[in-house]
């Protein structure tokens, strides 16, 4: 071929055409690539950027150690210990229906069942526990023995998907001491997870249930750590993008005196059990089914001890409570050991309420502190006769003596007269109810424990509301009752006039009976106010919060809730009356304190025996000591425990003996009061 060979024109034109075709094809392909790039980078760029983050970032969460709960002297009531747990990989072992994923999984589950001594269904139930996140290994058994661990480690290939993990669990160096105060931990529930208040919780997290664990959840919990790791495509960690260390929960220092707490629990339990062998006048033994005991710091309202009987063992809740134990502690037949009676039990206060009604009568101007009022064996008002506990009439007495003798008729008379006065008012002042509320009754005091009840101070409005709610029932039952029967008469009266606050209601209220209900905590707070020169304090268990290194983070200052609003003379009359009750011959609690060194530690107190037909009366005793410079307030109540002087006062005495270091000479065990007074 020679240079310059002339290509035929036709050929050249086709060539140009064909080259143009090739160029067009190339342009088309390049345009397709460009369009795709535009879509990926400009239109969907943000989505891919987010995807890029998700492929290269891994978040690792670390749990914060929960704060400890300490006694006032720094001793540990609750702390943490590492526990070895057997954990199972749910995604590997079971399918969406919760059944073993394949044959190998089924065999692993079978081996686990043998290893743990459970049946296979139980193992599957634990693996499928929906309270745990599917993305975290599910604890199947906590605190497994060495032998189990050894078996697992030596036969890893037989247990694919099963591993071990160290998880912090609560430890109770003092055993079941102060169980109701402490509370326990439980898995967060699905409902709670949906609640904004638990926004930063995840499935499988533990949350405080009951007691201080619940009340101080946000302080004790701490803040979990979060590490965002940058990984490469093999999952190897290349870098740490952010690292937030876990912040341990705060330690809660309480007002609790652990020795006193132990003594209080023992005294309550022993006293209740011992009282069950007391024979009543009707030939039955005292049931004494349950009870409460509270010790408050007289000045601050700090809770030094708080006991509820029967009790439970918080250690049963570590790593998850069994169904059987849960049912037992909630069983009414077992008197619901989980119930924290000092704050959740609501009982008629009986005579321990007389301090409030006495103060109210003085405030209403019906009597002065030294005015004498009669104390007959019975009192008749509006054709109804109300009896004093003492069938023998006593001489007219002042307020202090009325408390000492716990004379019912003294209060009946004054209360009925007050009711008559108020009935004439367009808008009754309801002085008795108002004073009762100032003593802390009829409302939650706001103690830092969950489950506190408000009790009831019945008033005209309360009566009417109650009646409106139940009227229909009264009327129907009245219709159904036999004509002319007492029941029919009573029910048709309730049906028609049940909404009225009548003289009888006022009479009953004056001695803490009728519809009046109070928690042991309210009674303790009322007596604390009397001991504290008339200033009611909010009862509080927590004292301060400290960081893990011991630095003070927040101190929970004693908080006054209000003043009783009594004159000095009236307050003095109450205190004298309470002192005489314990220390002067004829006082209702004198017998229970026989032999107590009252010269060294003068005690002021009040017995109470609250009727609640058809049950055996509830026994009460409320006291503070030393009477001249109060340090502690002690309240004991025993459900169906008979007389306050008989069952409750001796328990309170034991508590005071322990607190003031009084040796019990020659007396072992529980000695009930000599007779039923009050």
């Amino acid at each position: 071929m020679t240079r310059g060979m002339v290509v035929p024109d036709v050929q050249e034109r086709t060539t140009v055409l064909r080259l143009a075709f090739l160029g067009g094809l190339a342009a088309l392909l390049l345009a397709a690539l460009l369009a795709r790039l535009w879509f990926l980078q400009v239109l969907a760029g943000d989505r891919f950027a987010a995807l890029a983050d998700s492929t290269r970032l891994r978040t690792v969460v670390s749990a914060a150690p929960r704060g400890h709960i300490l006694a006032a002297d720094g001793r540990e009531l609750v702390r943490n210990r590492p526990a070895l747990a057997l954990v199972a990989d749910r995604q590997r072992l079971v399918d969406d229906a919760g059944r073993p994923r394949d044959d190998e999984s089924a065999r692993v589950v079978g081996r686990l069942a043998v290893l743990l001594g459970l049946d296979e269904e139980e193992v599957l139930d634990r693996i499928n526990d929906r309270r745990y996140s599917p993305f975290r290994p599910v604890p199947v058994a906590v605190d497994v023995g060495e032998a189990v661990l050894l078996t697992l480690r030596q036969n890893q290939e037989l247990f694919r998907g099963v591993g071990t993990d160290t998880i912090p669990v609560r430890e109770y160096p003092e055993g079941d001491l102060a169980a109701h105060l402490v509370g326990y931990l439980g898995q967060i529930s699905r409902d709670e997870l949906a609640d904004p208040a638990f926004a930063d919780y995840r499935g499988g997290d533990l949350v405080g249930r009951g007691g201080l664990e619940q009340a101080y959840e946000s302080d004790l919990r701490g803040r979990g750590g979060q590490q965002v790791l940058v990984v490469n495509r093999r999952g190897a960690v290349i870098d740490v993008q952010s690292d937030r260390a876990a912040v341990p929960g705060l330690d809660l220092v309480t007002w609790l005196d652990l020795d006193l707490q132990r003594a209080v629990e023992e005294a309550l339990a022993e006293g209740i059990v011992a009282s069950r062998s007391i024979l009543r006048t009707d030939g039955r033994l005292l049931p004494s089914t349950a009870g409460s005991a509270i010790v408050l710091d007289a000045r601050t309202g700090g809770v030094m001890a708080l006991a509820s009987f029967p009790s439970y063992d918080p250690r049963e809740f570590v790593g998850g409570v069994s169904v059987a134990y849960w049912e037992r502690v909630n069983d009414p037949e077992q008197f619901q050991p989980l119930t924290n009676r000092p704050i959740a039990g609501q009982y008629p206060p009986g005579s321990v309420f007389k301090v409030a009604s006495g103060a109210a009568m003085v405030e209403a101007g019906l009597v002065g502190p030294s005015t004498r009022v009669g104390c007959p064996a019975s009192y008749t008002a509006a054709d109804v006769t109300f009896r004093n506990w003492n069938p023998v009439a006593e001489a007219p007495m002042d307020l202090a003596t009325a408390l000492k003798r716990s004379c019912d008729t003294y209060f009946y008379d004054l209360s009925f007269r007050l009711w008559q006065q108020e009935q004439r008012q367009d808008e009754p002042d309801e002085v008795l109810q108002a004073v009762a509320r100032r003593f802390g009754f009829g409302q939650r005091l706001g103690i830092d424990l969950p489950g506190e009840q408000a009790g009831v101070v019945p008033s005209r409005a309360w009566r009417r509301e109650f009646w409106l709610r139940y009227r229909e029932g009264y009327c129907e039952r009245a219709e159904a009752a036999a004509p002319g029967s007492l029941g029919r008469e009573l029910l048709s009266d309730l049906c028609r006039f049940g909404g009225l606050w009548r003289g009888g209601d006022a009479v009953n209220l004056s001695i803490g009976q009728g519809d009046m209900l109070a928690t042991p905590l309210q009674v303790a707070a009322a007596y604390q106010a009397i001991a504290n020169d008339g200033v009611l304090m909010r009862p509080t268990v927590g004292r301060e919060l400290r960081s893990a290194d011991g630095a003070l983070v927040r101190s929970i200052d004693p908080e006054p809730l209000g003043d009783l609003g009594l004159t000095d003379a009236a307050l003095r009359a109450l205190r004298v009356g309470l002192e005489r009750t314990v220390m002067e011959p004829g006082g209702t609690a004198v017998g229970a304190f026989a032999g107590f060194p009252l010269g060294e530690v003068p005690v002021a107190g009040k017995t109470g025996t609250a009727e609640r037909d058809p049950r055996v009366p509830y026994a009460w005793f409320a006291a503070y000591a030393p009477a001249d410079a109060p340090e502690v307030v002690v309240v004991v109540s025993v459900e169906e425990g008979g007389g306050g002087s008989q069952t409750a006062a001796p328990i309170a005495r034991r508590i005071l003996e322990h607190h003031f270091g009084i040796e019990r000479v020659g007396l072992a065990g529980f000695v009930p009061g000599p007779e039923i007074l009050d």
Partner: protein, 395 residues
């Protein structure tokens, strides 16, 4: 050649410089585009490997140094390919073709080097080379020679001969296995047949035969399962429930890397997906992901723009070629360029299945870079001896 270069009284240096004289008329746009792409490639390879090289304690220039060396050799080859009159090269073409074919056979013998199941390399004089890249050039030249001697419309015999010349190396490459490169050969032959004036109905007939053969291959064991999976699977790579452990992983990761670059990119050496090596082979077949992530849409589109410029020049040079074989070579280079860019970038952005095929000029790999710079030299050569070059008139 001018008289200067033959005059013995002129100093050897001046004679050598005079040899380079024709380069004054070289198509500088082609040179700039080729060198620009090569430069971008070196930068992208550096970025792709900087982090992992540092992690392994190797010098950061481990890959870029070798690529630059290849670029240097490639430049020499380019200059040589531009200067030596292509008409003088014609007699050498059969040897180039047969030599490349021999190397391809050797690759399949135990002399070849296998990486991840593909036997594509052979060590020659201490250097690892990829004969299938050389074969590309040899095949193009062979076909050009074949059709150069025809006048008018190529006859059936020549056309079938061309198909035969293609199928032999194609089968050898397919056996490596390297689906991408063997498809490239096919496309190259299609382009050569197109521009050499083969009757349109024959072209269509060949296309139908090709598709039929492909479908037939599907029914046999010739196309392996994983290849089929790659051919079809990439379409679902951006589905949220895509199985990312299999063939889709690479496509998905590469789309994430490119997409996360956004409009302007994360900046050079700032690409997280690149640095963390989420995209496998991101210095070779997936080097485009580095550009996409770090330089964004703007950078990626610019690279495509450089390819478009090169392609336009190739077709322009082809249309101005004085000889038929020169025209075929120039348009064949253009065809190779477009098929490789489309297949490679296409698999990077999830438009095409994942097949091993480097991105011209950019992907790490000496043989590929040298052969592309060599082909650039051929383009310049044709240009220098085209009507355009003649009008320039200095030679």
């Amino acid at each position: 050649m001018s008289a200067l270069t033959r005059d013995p009284s002129v100093s050897p240096v001046r004679r050598a410089l005079a040899l380079l004289g024709p380069l004054r008329d070289a198509d500088l746009v082609v040179v700039a585009a080729a060198l620009g792409l090569t430069g971008v490639g070196v930068v992208a390879i550096h970025s792709a490997k900087a982090a992992s090289l540092a992690a392994q304690g190797l010098p950061a220039t481990f890959y870029t140094g070798r690529q630059l060396l290849a670029a240097g050799i490639g430049l020499v080859v380019m200059v040589a390919a531009a200067l030596i009159d292509y008409r003088r090269l014609r007699p050498l073409i059969p040897f180039a073709y047969l030599g490349s074919l021999l190397l391809l056979v050797l690759v399949l013998t135990p002399l070849g080097t296998s990486v991840r199941g593909s036997q594509r390399w052979i060590t020659l004089l201490g250097q690892q080379i990829q004969p299938s890249e050389l074969m590309k050039v040899a095949l193009l030249l062979g076909l050009a020679m074949l059709f150069h001697e025809t006048e008018g419309i190529p006859g059936l015999g020549r056309t079938l001969l061309a198909v035969g010349l293609t199928l032999i190396p194609m089968a050898l490459v397919f056996a490596q296995p390297d689906l991408g490169t063997s498809v490239t050969y096919l496309f190259l032959t299609g382009v050569v047949l197109l521009v050499s004036g083969t009757r349109v109905r024959w072209l269509l007939l060949l296309a139908v035969a090709g598709i039929g053969a492909f479908l037939a291959a599907l029914r046999t064991d010739l196309i392996r399962d994983y290849q089929l999976e790659r051919l079809t699977g990439f379409l679902g790579a951006d589905a949220p429930d895509a199985d990312l452990t299999g063939a889709l992983f690479q496509t998905r990761q590469s789309m994430i890397a490119i997409g996360s670059g956004g409009t302007y990119g994360r900046g050079l050496l700032e690409g997280t997906q690149t640095a963390l090596a989420f995209v496998p082979d991101n210095h070779t077949d997936f080097v485009f992901t580095v550009i996409g992530e770090e330089l964004g849409f703007v950078g990626a589109a610019s690279v495509l723009g450089l390819f478009a410029v090169l392609l336009w020049r190739a077709l322009r040079i082809a249309s101005q070629a004085l000889d038929r074989d020169a025209m075929i070579v120039a348009s064949g280079i253009g065809g190779l360029l477009i098929v490789q860019v489309f297949v490679n970038v296409g698999m990077n952005v999830g438009l095409m299945p994942v097949t091993g095929l480097p991105l011209p000029f950019l992907s790490y790999g000496g043989t590929s870079l040298i052969s592309w710079l060599g082909m650039t030299g051929l383009l310049l050569n044709v240009h220098l001896r085209s009507r355009q070059g003649l009008i320039g008139g200095r030679w």
